[in-house]
Symmetry: D2
Subunit: 264 residues, 4 copies
């Protein structure tokens, strides 16, 4: 059950790359980031408008104030846009601006939100809960599907274990298990999965070689100045370098790293 | 910051016992359960109206249809009532019937719901997320407190680990850590925490001896016939037996297991 | 299958307290520690001669050089002595000086060592592996029992989980599960289990109230000067205070905190 | 610090494949397995002579009785041989027959054994403890290195987490972290890491693409008849198919899947 949308065929032959900053911060940052990921060959632009943060006093995203910035960035780079939803009340507003709505790890068990997204017309990227068993993850997708929305993409982003050297433990084998047992496309987020830029290109290559359907990575024009999660973002140069390697790998693995039609 | 409400003083000298079935099923079941837990000395009646279930086709609770049953049970036994909220849209309706609103483990990170409960007037029992660090749990409470509701009770219900002999790993030391570092009352749910009736009385006694503020346990008149989680419920006889032991233990620990005024 | 040895009846009616410093450091430290724990009512003196350390350049214990110090301390305080074995080659030498030989968490799967201890005549305290399932722990004890040594005491010392506020996650419910399913006495080590002195007395009381058979705690005359694990040791005053509370609790729970005959 | 031994250069440019049955069972099984893995292009033959099993009554390996079988298999297929050590007393005997000695996951913390292997002349493959942090794993290698043996290969074999769909959680990112921080070669065991044959080829490809140094996989001529761990073994046909894919992938990744000199 590939997800065909916005000129893409996620879960099909092509390997999909979603990239962009953790959060929309300002026009300059978004234009630099979106142009750079487009130039390097990404297929979807990502950026957060609403952020879920452990502490209520941390930066929670620009919200509505970020919409014009996103519209401009989309127009300039021509890529479809993915952003996270943090409340059922945002569905309608986000449907105006987002081509893909992401459910973050903290909301995988928020069945109320999942049911609401079952009524949306845009594809949903459902991240695995940080301690969700793979069976529960598949069942969460079922909450969306029952509402009539069959455009669902699963995203592995690392699980919580005793290991603290990496931010989470990226469970590539669990992701592959899910791909083999469900009909859904499965992509991987090595940025949250490892939290360490030096590990991201290797884990992205591993994702492609394992037979999974794509990656989502955080890219920031100046990671050290990012308002959130900067320490795990790739620079635009590191991202371009990673894309070159993925393209070469995709050729031998018969998973081309370019969009259908090749025009994106 | 004790929670004084409905004649109780949770987090004060007394040790609080919350008991009742996992879900409201029908009038007979609720009346039997509520009368039995009241007779044995429980201070608060618990029962689920809205259930969060891993699979969308599992029993999801009676919802509104259960309200008249709850009203009757409350009237007959005279105990305050606690139930779980599963959607921000339920706040108003539940405030009519519930004296305590519980946020389940799957919703600890649902900051949207927590903010909504910050505006409610009833106390909130906030369960720890199944993989939440104790720091994150305290921060989640802060999302409620910022809305103006300072009646917050934390409830440890076991965390997810590699051990599968018990349903979860009950983290009593983590609960005590939180009690020592926050001003909030901390209670423990050994029913979900262990999933094994034979372990529940021992863990309830351990909770009291450790210096924590109360327990919440599942009690069902006929566990084998329960519509959900029956295998972990105590029978009414087992519960009465447990209460006798807790009362004796409470005397020597100077944590009486009866409500303020002694009339409940 | 209680362990009757050195005038004790571990797993019987009495609740056993094992206490002492992490490591034998010098004569002064050992005499102060042993006299203090004896005076407060401990039943067994503990101290490490051979230490297992993550880094090969960390303090590895006094080894043979500590034997005269231990002999003197035993003679002065009159308590039986427990110490950890770290190599099968130590069995004979330790049998001369130790009344209980402890297998540490890193060696629970060291079946070679367990088989060797099956031929020893002294009781073995078998700590749970830091990520051992309770079934595996019981099976490890079987490796000792098959060799002919049926004097086995299990010791829960916390398991490894995602939580980092405490050093390990103390699994009291898992310990109780094992006690209910095996015929072996089960004790608890809240010092390693939590790593935080302020949590130790509460967890020791919880252990007694839960129905388990004893505790092992680290006590040091001057924790800040300890050569290993000082940050988790109780002072002798804190230990004496904890013992007073355990004695009162033991009375109501019918688990007296004094040795059989009352003369120890 | 590559490990050059037996004509191989592990950690160098080539990607190393170690394969064979979990345990030596009999002559027929070993000859079939060793010839098949040699024909498919494996560089090292693996098989267990001494097995560590959770239950003392499970099959513990042929021990000395298996030595003639191994000698015959080595002679016929011409591959170097790797086997697990389970006791320090086996070092000398194994040095006669094994080109690589493996320390299993249960013995990573067995510092006594590690020190003994520091005096051996053969390379040591050190598996990660099932709940070992990557820092501890590196420190364990240091116990071997201090003894004078610098031929050390690290092997990631999955860690223990809450997920039960796979046997363990294969931590590829953790393995890459260790490769980037230590000078040691790091290989991966997807057989124990996943426990599911359908996931093994994908995880082996991921290992190569991530930049790690090799894989160790279990191959059995008839998995359903294996005396241990049969359910996770590849058939000889599945292994040959996997090798073809690894060879193609190795070409584009500049990590050739053939031994130095190309004659093995």
């Amino acid at each position: 059950m590939n997800v065909k949308f916005a000129g893409l065929d996620i879960g099909g032959k092509n390997f999909t790359v979603i990239a962009g900053p953790c959060a929309v911060e300002n026009e300059d940052q978004m234009l630099q980031a979106s142009n750079a990921v487009k130039a390097a060959g990404a297929h979807v632009l990502r950026a957060g408008l609403y952020k879920l943060r452990t502490r209520p006093d941390a930066f929670q995203g620009l919200g509505r104030d970020g919409f014009p910035i996103v519209k401009l960035a989309k127009q300039k780079c021509g890529l479809p846009f993915l952003t996270e939803i943090t409340s059922a009340s945002q569905v309608e507003a986000l449907a105006d601006i987002a081509d893909f709505i992401m459910v973050g790890t903290r909301n995988m068990y928020n069945y109320d939100l999942l049911k609401e997204l079952g009524r949306a017309r845009v594809p949903v990227v459902l991240k695995r809960g940080m301690s969700a068993k793979v069976e529960e993850w598949i069942n969460a997708a079922e909450y969306i599907a029952r509402g009539g929305n069959d455009k669902i993409i699963l995203c592995e982003r690392g699980i919580r274990t005793f290991e603290t050297a990496t931010r989470n433990t990226l469970d590539l084998a669990g992701a592959l298990w899910v791909k083999q047992r469900s009909a859904l496309p499965v992509i991987v987020d090595p940025s949250h999965g490892t939290g360490i830029p030096a590990l991201i290109p290797g884990m992205a290559a591993a994702t492609l070689a394992a037979g999974l359907d794509g990656v989502m990575v955080e890219v920031h024009p100046m990671p050290s100045a990012a308002l959130s999660d900067g320490s795990q973002a790739l620079t635009t140069e590191q991202f371009a370098d990673m894309m070159e390697k993925l393209k070469r790998l995709g050729e031998v693995c018969n998973r081309p790293v370019h969009a259908p039609g090749g025009h994106l």
